[in-house]
Structures are given as structure tokens and as C-alpha cells.
Amino acid sequence: MEAKEIEKLAKLARLEITQETIDETAKSITEVLALVDQLQSADTGDIAPMAHPLDAVQVLRKDEVTESDTREQLQAIAPATEDGLYLVPKVID
């Protein structure tokens, strides 16, 4: 894993990795991927991928409103709001 690849991944993950730590990050991720590569030794032929330990399926419920309006409580913990809206930097010029 090269520093350049880390930069690309960091961009995909929307996660700033500082220049000072990028080589160290690349080195440790290379080590993790070497560990993970042991998986390639397994014969998985026609085994189906397993996403849930109990192979459960999505639980469905009636399309009814079951929760009360908690907008005020939820917005009280936001970094910046105005008139019930979340504030972010301008997106469209």
C-alpha cells in the first residue's frame, strides 16, 4: 500500500489523514492486508456468503408512524442549526 493509495482511500472515506501520519498509516494497513490475505488459502468453492449469524431475513412492520416528533431534542445536540435546519457550508454557488 503506497501513500498515494491511502490518499485515495481517505478521500473515499471522507477522512483526513495528515501528511505526517500517511507513511505510518500505509505501513500498518499493508500489515493488516497481509494478515487478511490468508483468506485466499481457503477453498470456498460454492459456499454462499454469510451476512448474518442466524441467516435472518429483514423484519417488516406495518407502515405506520410509531415515533413521536423529537426534532427539538435531536437538533439540540447538533453543532449548528437555524430555524429547525442543520447548517452546513454553502454547497451551490
Binding site: 493488516v32 494478515l35 490475505d37 454469510m50 423529537t70
Partner: protein, 484 residues
């Protein structure tokens, strides 16, 4: 008072030997006096605890209060608590006050339990030594130069130092059982889906499960009785009947078949730990159990499979921390992308970043089949090993951790060495099975744990097998020396 188990505290509360307020104050005083050494709590909830204790005393006075009424406990700081900070050990949530209680927190409140505070943990539960917490590492009460294990290190250390009789915790790859092993406690990770995950901050959703750190298996049973519930708010919670887990503790284990996987006794296992586990096997034979060597042939692939699946799920789950709706936000963002990148870059520590990047890589175009899909296939092979084994055995037994507690920094710059700390515990999370760790001896004056793995939803059997061991041995009564 702090020497007591939940079962003993409950009995004394019901018999009015002391009040909930008295014992709650006793533990609060201990935490304030001693936790400077251990750093096991992030937040102490003194006012709330005393108010809860007062309410519990009123309920106890009626003579009709449930077992946990008035019993003080601590919660891992991964569980949302209304009106009280929930940090998940991260700068990202340093000032986060959840607008609601996690289901398990409300279950304990309904049962009348008192919350002493919120315990320290590895950041977002990612770590096996509690060294990744933004709020500083937690010291092991058996040896303050050693780690308590992780990620539930604060929950384990506070019980081991007797600053709380018990604590809630979570286990994604060993985060209850490994600290239990390193701190000489009884740790229980129930079957995936047994306990609601609602309000428990998600790390890897198909692996995360809440459980307990206690002094005894009996206390684990009492706590699971409160904690387990079907919850429509967690779509992966399973609607299976919930028995009284204390009712079967005293069942005889004569004729029980215990499987011992040969793969759990290979290279990397400390000879002292191996001897302690072998002695435990002899104890079970004396109790009338039959021992059978078994094989879990895909064991060596559990750590590699986990380090694809867990980071993949973490990279998706942690995308919610965007600096917009809650959590850390950077100063003066230039634009929306800068807001995301810097808020997350500043809010997360190195191990969390590493896992987000590994997960992003495993899920990215061109790598999905080679990593994520492959790991999910191997996951099925690992589960099938257990399904096959449980055709012939009732319980599986082995070591919890390869060695006793290690020194701070010993595995600091090598993530893979740290990941191998969970080599015996990770497979049960991948399979979704319940697992426990109970103390089985001291090695280099530090405790080591015996791991017991049960079949799906067989927590009753698991607790029974653990309790019978604790009736026959006294390892679980050994306590760390606390400088009072």
C-alpha cells in the same frame, strides 16, 4: 460492602441490612477515592445514582421489589444514556448527550438498578488493551503497569478494583471475554440477537452483542435476566423465549459432553495459561463431565475473516459521524467536503481511522469479491465447524486469551500482534454463538480465563456449566490488591 456479589447485595437490600442509598454512596466514595489510579470511569453520575437509589429504597420498602432493585452497576460508555454524556471513548463524541436511553439501559432502570457512571473503553470499541481511548488508558487492578484488556477495559477494571459490583459491556470480537480473562472476572457474551442493540453505538452490526462483566456466573445470570428482551427497535433482535437464567444454575453436569478443540492449544498459547486450562478440564472430569477432543478446522482463518468483515461494517456504520447532526465539527470549514474530512480526521483516533480505511478498501470497486465476499464465505465455513461440533458436544472449552495481561505499549506499534490477542474469541462472534470467560488460575500473579462456548441461545446451559465450576473452585473469589 464492596466485596459483595449482586446476589448478596440483593439479599441484603431485601432484608434491609443496608439501603440502596448506603451502598450506592459507598461505591461512589470508592470511585472518587480510588479511580484516579485506574481511570475506569469516563463519567460519574452521582446525582442520578443517588436519586435512583432513593427511588429503589421506596420500592424495596414495599417488600415487592425485583432482584436487581437498588443494586448499583456501571455501564460501558457505548450505551446511550438520556441526559448523560455518551462518548464511546472518542473525541468525536466528547460532548455527546444522547436524547434517549439504550434499550438495555431502560431495562436496568425498569428493574430498579442504580447507574454509578459510564466506563472507559477503547475508542468505538476498537482495541484489545483499552489504549485507544481518547480519555486515556485504563490500568489493570492486578498490575497497574499492565493493560486491563479491551475494548470493555473500564467495565472490567472497575469490577476488578471493586468500584462497582458489576458492569454492562459489549463484545464484537472478544471485548467482554478478553478483559474478563485479564482482570479475573466472569464475562458473558450472549448469542447474537439475544440482547437488543438499540442505543448501543454500532461498530460492526453483525458481530456486536451486549453482555456483562461480573464476579460470578450467578451474577451474570441475574443480569442477563434483566438485559435480554425482544426489541422491535432492533431488527436483528431475535424473538426467542427468554428463560429464567438463574433457574438452571444448579443443574447437575454429570454426563455433560465438553468438546476441547485441538486448534486452541497450538503455537502462541502461554504454557502457564495452557496448564490452567488443562487443570480446569480435570475439574470438569471430576464433576462428571465427559471430555472429547474436537476439531474446528477453519479456526486459523477467523482473525483474517474478522479483519475484513468488522472494518467493512465499521466503515459503513461510522459514516454517520459527519460533523453535521451531532459529534465533533471542525473550525471554519471551507466547504462541505472539508467539513466532513476534517471533522472526521480530528474526531477519530489512529486505530479507528485504520479500520475505516481497511473497510473502505475491502468494499471498494474491484476488491469487494476478493475481500468482503471471500470473508463472508469463510465466515460460513467457520460457523459450520461449530454446527458440526455441537452435534457431538454440549459445550466447547478452551483458553480465552493466549496469555495473561501484557504491559502498556507492548503491542503498541503492531496492529496485527494486537489483533491476535482475540484469536480464540473472534470465531464465536463470527458464528453468533454465546461465549463466557471465567477465571481458572493465576499465571505470573495475574489471572487467566477459561473460555466456554455454548450452542445458539443456550446461555442457560453455559451459565450452569460456569456456575458448577465456580462451586468447585475458588479462582473467581481471588481479588486484585487495591491500595485502599
Amino acid at each position: 460492602m464492596h466485596n459483595l456479589t449482586i446476589a448478596e447485595i440483593s439479599k441484603k437490600l431485601q432484608e434491609k441490612e443496608f439501603s440502596s442509598k448506603e451502598i450506592t454512596q459507598h461505591f461512589l466514595d470508592r470511585i472518587k477515592r480510588l479511580d484516579g489510579t485506574y481511570n475506569s470511569f469516563i463519567t460519574l453520575t452521582e446525582q442520578e445514582a443517588l436519586a435512583q437509589a432513593e427511588a429503589a429504597d421506596k420500592r424495596l420498602a414495599t417488600g415487592d421489589a425485583p432482584t436487581m432493585c437498588g443494586v448499583p452497576i456501571a455501564h460501558k460508555d457505548i450505551f446511550c444514556t438520556q441526559g448523560v454524556k455518551t462518548t464511546c471513548g472518542s473525541r468525536m463524541l466528547e460532548n455527546f448527550i444522547a436524547p434517549y436511553d439504550a434499550t438495555i439501559v431502560s431495562n436496568y432502570k425498569t428493574a430498579g438498578a442504580v447507574t454509578l457512571g459510564k466506563t472507559n473503553m477503547d475508542e468505538f470499541a476498537m482495541g484489545s488493551s483499552n489504549e485507544t481511548s481518547y480519555f486515556g488508558s485504563v490500568k489493570n487492578p492486578w498490575d497497574v503497569e499492565c493493560v486491563p484488556g479491551g475494548s470493555s477495559g473500564g467495565s472490567a477494571a472497575c469490577v476488578a478494583a471493586q468500584l462497582a459490583p458489576a458492569a454492562s459491556a459489549t463484545d464484537t470480537g472478544g471485548s467482554i471475554r478478553q478483559p474478563a480473562s485479564l482482570c479475573g472476572l466472569t464475562g458473558l457474551k450472549p448469542t447474537y440477537g439475544r440482547v437488543s442493540r438499540w442505543g448501543m453505538i454500532a461498530f460492526a452490526s453483525s458481530l456486536d452483542q451486549a453482555g456483562t462483566l461480573t464476579k460470578t456466573a450467578e451474577d451474570s445470570a441475574i443480569m442477563l435476566n434483566v438485559m435480554a428482551s425482544y426489541d422491535a427497535k432492533d431488527s436483528t433482535c431475535v424473538n426467542e423465549p427468554i428463560p429464567d437464567y438463574t433457574a438452571t444454575l444448579n443443574d447437575s453436569i454429570k454426563g455433560l459432553t465438553i468438546g476441547v478443540p485441538k486448534e486452541y492449544f497450538g503455537e502462541g498459547l502461554h504454557p502457564g495459561t495452557e496448564l490452567a486450562v488443562k487443570n480446569a478440564i480435570e475439574t470438569y472430569e471430576k464433576l462428571g463431565a465427559k471430555i472429547k477432543e474436537i476439531s474446528l478446522p477453519h479456526s486459523s482463518l477467523s482473525v483474517p475473516a474478522y479483519y475484513v468483515i468488522a472494518p467493512a461494517e465499521c466503515s459503513a456504520n461510522l459514516s454517520r459521524f459527519d460533523g453535521v447532526r451531532y459529534g465533533h465539527r471542525c473550525e471554519d470549514p471551507k466547504n462541505l467536503e472539508d467539513l466532513y474530512m476534517r471533522s472526521r480526521g480530528e474526531g477519530f483516533g489512529p486505530e479507528v481511522k485504520r479500520r475505516i480505511l481497511v473497510g473502505t478498501y475491502a468494499l471498494s470497486a474491484g476488491y469487494y469479491d476478493a475481500y468482503y465476499s471471500k470473508a463472508q464465505k469463510v465466515r460460513r465455513l467457520i460457523k459450520q465447524d461449530f454446527v458440526d461440533a455441537f452435534k457431538d458436544v454440549d459445550v466447547i472449552l478452551g483458553p480465552t486469551s493466549p496469555s495473561p495481561a501484557f504491559k502498556f505499549g507492548a503491542k503498541g506499534d503492531d496492529p496485527v500482534a494486537m489483533y491476535l490477542e482475540d484469536i480464540y474469541t473472534i470465531a464465536t462472534n463470527l458464528a453468533g454463538l454465546p461465549g463466557m470467560s471465567i477465571p481458572c488460575g493465576l499465571v505470573e500473579d495475574k489471572p487467566v480465563g477459561l473460555q466456554l462456548i455454548g450452542n445458539f441461545f443456550a446461555e442457560g446451559k453455559l451459565l450452569n456449566v460456569a456456575h458448577q465450576f465456580q462451586l468447585a473452585t475458588d479462582f473467581h473469589t481471588l481479588r486484585a490488591k487495591v491500595d485502599e
